[in-house]
Amino acid sequence: MILEIHGMGTPHVTFEQIIAYAAGMLSAQDAANVVAHLANNPQDVQTVSRYRLAQQAMATDDSVEPSPAAVARAKAVFKPQSKANRLGWLEAVDRFIATLVFDSRVQPLALRYSQAEDRINLTFEADEVELDLQAERIPHSEGAERWQMIGQLSSAEAMSFPAAASIALTKAGTKTIVAQASADGRGGFSFETVPGKYDLFVQTSRGVMIASNIDIA
């Protein structure tokens, strides 16, 4: 099918002629007719441009397909963080804010920790739960600066903490999870993260404990 195009007061030009013009395949006389037609038909000007753009793009295309192994590796990067996962237990009704009772940066003379720029020790308390948090800069980490956060949960009553308690590190003031972990049998857990401000959510049998505005830098 040839599409026929009529411009106002311009030569009768077919779509096939427009494409032939775009491809540089018309005689000088036929090309002049198409140019006159294009002067009043901006949509066809776009068609000519698109044809030439496509031709130029393909003629210069030196792209390379990645190997199936590389593609599989890229697909494996995905770790689902469904909306439900983000908002599930973090949205529990029974939530309690933990109080910061020790910060090695503002209490450097405390005997229990020596002061070091690449290590931060924090202690939070809430009801019967105590959280000791140590953040330490990972030396020689490639690319962006990274810190390892090691946590220890304990219960004032039993001096222990239930295994497999869920823990989530979120960007401060949001529910965007940047790291998740489960406490081991002794209440210990660890993350790796980049410098920033975070909230730490801990799921306990009594609700969700929140240690807020943890500044890692």
Partner: protein, 194 residues
């Protein structure tokens, strides 16, 4: 059904692995080609490729303009090429000569790579005889030999012109749907018509 980049990104954010796979399939070639174009060896190109997708996954929530994912991937790949190339002194290329601005490729370079990717994907979507004919016409170095193309595709010489027009009409619609860059079309209008 073609899903837009913002649709796929939002599906990824809901935990949809298939959406992520579709993004990797859509832009895998675009991303992988950048280290190869800069002359990185295959192993280094693989590292850049993997790093770009890891960075992309970590930053899905931070993308300010989800419709500009391909440009963002190009810039990220460009930076990773620099990082990987610098780290590996055994690389045989001179990155200083190939990469003038460490932060980002030029806008013209980004547009060209995006357009090449869109046209390639457009032709794949077109498929069939139309894909074969337009690919042959577009990719033939220099003046295409219509006789050779007609012979190869089993067409009569006289049918190439009408078929080319019919096929391009279909391709043009696909390219617009895929977001063929309008700015570059504007440049084309000013510089090449007439």
């Amino acid at each position: 059904v073609h899903r837009s980049d913002p649709d796929l990104i939002q599906a990824c954010q809901r935990g949809d692995q298939n959406a992520w796979n579709e993004l990797v399939a859509r832009y895998g070639r675009l991303v992988y080609s950048i280290p190869r174009r800069y002359g990185l060896k295959e192993a280094d190109a693989d590292d850049v490729y993997a790093a770009v997708w890891e960075i992309a996954f970590r930053n899905l929530d931070k993308l300010r303009d989800q419709s500009r994912l391909s440009a963002w991937l190009i810039t990220t790949a460009h930076r990773e090429c620099w990082r990987v190339g610098r780290k590996n002194p055994t690389t045989s290329i001179d990155l200083d000569q190939r990469i003038s601005d460490v932060g980002s490729p030029s806008d013209e370079q980004i547009t060209l790579w995006e357009n090449q990717d869109i046209v390639r994907r457009g032709l794949q979507t077109l498929g069939g005889r139309c894909q074969e004919l337009l690919s042959a016409l577009f990719m033939e170095p220099g003046e295409p030999s219509y006789e050779a193309i007609a012979d190869r595709l089993g067409m009569t010489l006289g049918s190439i012109g009408p078929t080319r027009a019919r096929c391009f009409k279909k391709l043009e619609k696909i390219l617009v749907d895929l977001g063929l860059d309008r700015e570059s079309l504007g440049l084309e209008q000013g510089s090449q018509l007439g």
